[in-house]
Amino acid sequence: MLAYLLIRMFRWATGLLLIMFLTYTMMYYGAGDPVRRMFLDQSNINVDAITLERIREQYGLNDPLLQQFWNYLNRLVHGDLGISIREQRPVADMVWAALPISLQLGAAATVISTLFGVPLGVLAALRHNRRTDFTIVGLVVISNAVPVFVTGPLLMLLLVVVLDLMAVPWGWHGLLSTKTILPVVVLVLGPLPIIVRQTRAAVLEVTHEEYIRTARAKGLPGSQVVMRHMLRPVLTPVVTSIGLVLVTLINGAVFVEFIFGIPGFGGLALAGLQQVDYPVIMATVVIGALIVMVGNFLVDLLYPLLDPRITERR
């Protein structure tokens, strides 16, 4: 068990390190000279070449790539994410302001998509190859195929202009505000298809198991069979798709926060990339990767508890 956990942890930790190194390398070669950017391109301050060189030396920008990466890791461990070129303030502060908003949105979307996704998946599997099944699967396919930046504006058109049901949802007014409904609904469309599909497949797999037949044969009502005997094996694939769900949530956050003007993590990442603000880019990529990797590690942690056969097999 311990060996299994250590191997898994090593796997995701090295993965995170690889992503950080690749991002740093890309920024190192791709973002151009940060000192030049800071003074000449952004603020139009006229600085002579010797001063530029001294600043470069002072911040260790003349060190080789590996040395700089090592320094970056050291600062990262101490919670220092650097200073934004655009905003001239610590990136850590910006992240602390933005991340809670996105975490709330993401948590709400996860809860809602589980609450709707699992019953829908069970229903589709119980009505396998009948009209209900086709409808649910069709809706899942459509919500999977149509990107967030299409559903968002179209829903806005429908609800605000055509049906005139709500005011324009714009900005962040707290999780319980009515203006948060539409962003959460659009965000839910990312993980919902995954959860429905996983649940449906898992239920279909167990419907022909002998213990289900036994449960039915001894006269248990249908709802009891589902609640007691089917949902337990369904738990495993749904929990193990956490990693995938997190990826769709982060991807979705970028678009949802852009469309609805929410100052969250996705918006921060997008702004950083559009303005080539490389400390912000580094920070958002690292934190995004960290969230997903921790999610994946948690899945690995939960997996043997849900399905004890796993550690023996690997």
């Binding site: 796997r11 090295t14 993965g15 690889l18 992503i19 991002t23 890309m26 920024m27 070669y29 791709g30 973002a31 151009g32 396919v141 459509i142 999977n144 195929a145 149509v146 990107p147 930046f149 299409v150 504006p153 179209l154 806005m156 058109l157 605000v160 202009v161 324009v168 990693g243 990826v247 982060i250 991807n251 970028v254 678009f255 852009f258 469309i259 990442a269 997008l270 990339l273 559009q274 080539v276 880019i281 958002t284 990529v285 995004g288 990767a289 997903v292 990797m293 994946n296």
Partner: protein, 322 residues
Amino acid sequence: MAAAEFPLEVQKLQSDTRPKSRSLLRDAMRRLVKNRLSLAGLMVVCLFLFAAVFGPLLAPHDFLAQEIRSALQPPSSEYWLGTDALGRDIFSRLLYGARTAAVVAFTTTLVSLLIGITVGLVSGYLGPRIDASLMWLTDVTMSMPGILLAMLVNTSLKYPFTSWFDDMYEETRNPFFLNTWWLDFVLVFGALALISWPVYARLIRGQVFSIGESMYVEAARASGAGTRRIMVYHLIPNATGPVIVAVTQGMGAAILLESSLSFLGIGIQPPNASWGSMLSDSLALWRSAPHLLAAPSITIAVISIAFIYLGDGLNDALNPRQ
């Protein structure tokens, strides 16, 4: 002669159940056409490819022509889908956008398929140690939020490329280095291929293992066939079906990814037309001119759904045993 022994219905039945040709393609085509949703998907995809190839000939207006006096017009007989804020014809821009989407879809899928095939084959054939490390790389790439990675690659490659082009122009004075509109495409290809290859790598590796353990390959190996013979005569023909399905779905996904990048203002830049940037351009005007928003978003949705249903139909048609 034998026909006379059976009543007419049975004869008919016999001729129906015995098709003249049993090639994979014809069988697959028959099964595909039977499924109505997939047939609709196929038709939409064909229409899309037709628009991509012949779009400039079909377009009623130049997609760049700005007629400021007729800006923001609703759909009319002259401008079939209306005009945008600069007075450009939306229908013509959609047609040119189809060309962008098709080019990106084909190239990205091809490049990521090549990477995926290489990684998958190496993983499947060169032993468990290399397999484990390559699958680690695949897992890590897959677990990275795709849009962040694509944006990162696109932005960080852009600066060195453009500055290198500037330098080259300074040196050679060759006008080739001034015109960099196609650079956006190359960057988008690179960024998208870099995030799409893991799907193909996993698929190919899975095929190598499942086909490699099958009875017929074992039989071939027992009768002395080498790795190359098994690859050419057994692996490639049997893996073709799943790969075609994955490619179809991958092309749909590539179109979506391209329009997402352009939507965020990072992919294909103006003056090139892209559905994603058309959408983000009209986002500011969504209240006063909703038709601007509706045209590209409905197009993206329809094409994407069409590719998914076509992929599903192909899956049933090409892999009937699943």
